[in-house]
């Protein structure tokens, strides 16, 4: 090892790594002295320092920063409060969404009844609302999507446990639909039912998508 070559000296690597903080003035006096002394004899480290100086200058003289936007803590916290209240009202929004979809579904169901879609297979009876008519009570269509790879045994168990009727396999959409009867249920109850179904480990999603009205 050529000890006369500063680049081969024991402190060379250490000094190289300390250059940025030598430049920003945050080294201890001991470290700064070490760097200063080494720089005097090491052209390689002086070259490195020159690049660091350019970077520091570029960063500190960067005039590209536009005028800082007017902002206030109050505005920010108010925005946060709004966001949180929107979060809390998510369930409320969801209720409206359920309600809207139920109203829409009701219209569809009425149309379905009045236009008579014709005979359907037993396992799809709810689709025409005629089976609901026979039962003379309101039913809700719950659409379920299962997690990938679930066994048919587990899937059937969940479908059974949810207590739905007229289970239908929507193969194209990889979903199941079933008619759920929740007498005199409020939107809160519907939402709780869907949430409980969705909280099962086998279930990816559960949502009410339509309403069945009894035929008058």
């Amino acid at each position: 090892m050529d000890m006369n070559n500063p680049a081969m000296s024991p402190e060379h690597d250490e000094v190289r790594m300390l250059l940025p903080w030598y430049l920003n003035g945050t080294l201890s006096e001991t470290e700064a002295s070490l760097v200063r002394a080494h720089l005097e004899s090491c052209p390689d480290c002086r070259a490195d320092l020159a690049v660091h100086e350019k970077m520091k200058l570029a960063v500190s003289q960067d005039e590209a920063t536009p005028i800082v936007p007017a902002a206030s803590a109050d505005t920010l916290l108010d925005r946060l409060a709004r966001r949180e209240s929107e979060g809390n009202s998510w369930s409320r929004h969801r209720k409206y969404a359920v309600a809207a979809s139920l109203v829409l579904a009701a219209l569809i169901a009425i149309v379905a009844v009045t236009t008579d879609f014709g005979p359907v297979a037993n396992n799809q009876a709810y689709q025409t609302a005629t089976s609901a008519a026979k039962e003379s009570r309101i039913g809700y269509v719950l659409r379920l999507r299962f997690e990938a790879g679930i066994s048919s045994e587990n899937r059937n168990r969940v479908l059974d446990e949810l207590g739905g009727a007229d289970i239908r396999d929507l193969e194209n959409e990889e979903a199941y639909e079933m008619l759920i009867h929740l007498p005199n249920s409020s939107l809160d109850e519907l939402e709780r039912f869907a949430n409980a179904a969705q909280s099962r480990s086998e279930v990816k999603s559960a949502e009410f998508v339509a309403l069945h009205l009894p035929v008058r």
């Binding site: 250059l19 970077m55 570029a58 590209a64 536009p66």
Partner: protein
């Protein structure tokens, strides 16, 4: 050798900021307003230099300060308040930069620039552009060290990295910058022009 910092004289001391943060942890809005006034411009400028996007910087600066408001009780006084806050800015900026594709190179005509290689202004532009091309962690570390003037240990805390990693990032940033400037025909020093390294 000291780094000039903006409005040091009017900035609260670290002890005062710790007291502010304790009150913010108790959701004391006036304390947050005070901290906000002191930090918002600095954070905005810091993230703008990283993102070069006014709207992204505005959103990031607000997100950083909201995180401070929501997590003030997690501050353990193991570092300065400013290091803790800029650590949050570092992580949020890193997430933003990680999602963004690197800028296309070059932003302007390299040949035209080569004719003005002795212009300080043009040279600085190249260096600034070169900094924008650094990998996100290196770019952020350069900003923490040269824009905010953090010490090596503070940089390590802010980036949640070992001191050795921080040193290595700056080392690689310097090396990449040197290569970049060499390609752009900007002399980095008389020594290098003589063929050293």
């Amino acid at each position: 050798m000291t780094t000039p910092k903006m409005s040091d004289a009017i900035r609260p001391s670290n002890e005062q900021e710790e007291a502010l943060l304790r009150r913010i942890a108790a959701q004391h809005r006036p304390s947050f307003e005070k901290l906000f006034g002191s930090y918002h411009p600095r954070i905005f400028k810091f993230v703008f230099r990283l993102t070069r996007s006014y709207s992204a910087a505005d959103e990031l600066a607000n997100d950083v300060l909201l995180t401070v408001w929501q997590n003030a009780e997690q501050f353990r006084a193991e570092s300065k308040v400013s290091t803790w806050i800029f650590g949050i800015a570092y992580r949020q900026s890193l997430r933003y930069l990680g999602k963004r594709k690197p800028d296309a190179l070059p932003l302007f005509d390299q040949d035209a620039l080569a004719h003005d290689e002795n212009s300080d202004f043009e040279r600085q532009n190249w260096v600034q552009h070169g900094i924008q091309q650094l990998p996100p962690k290196q770019k952020l570390t350069v900003m923490l060290v040269y824009y905010l003037g953090l010490s090596c240990e503070e940089t390590a805390v802010a980036t949640d990295s070992p001191v050795s990693t921080v040193k290595t990032r700056m080392f690689h940033a310097r090396r990449k910058m040197k290569d970049y400037l060499a390609k752009s025909a900007v002399p980095t020093s008389a020594t290098e022009a003589d063929g050293h390294e």
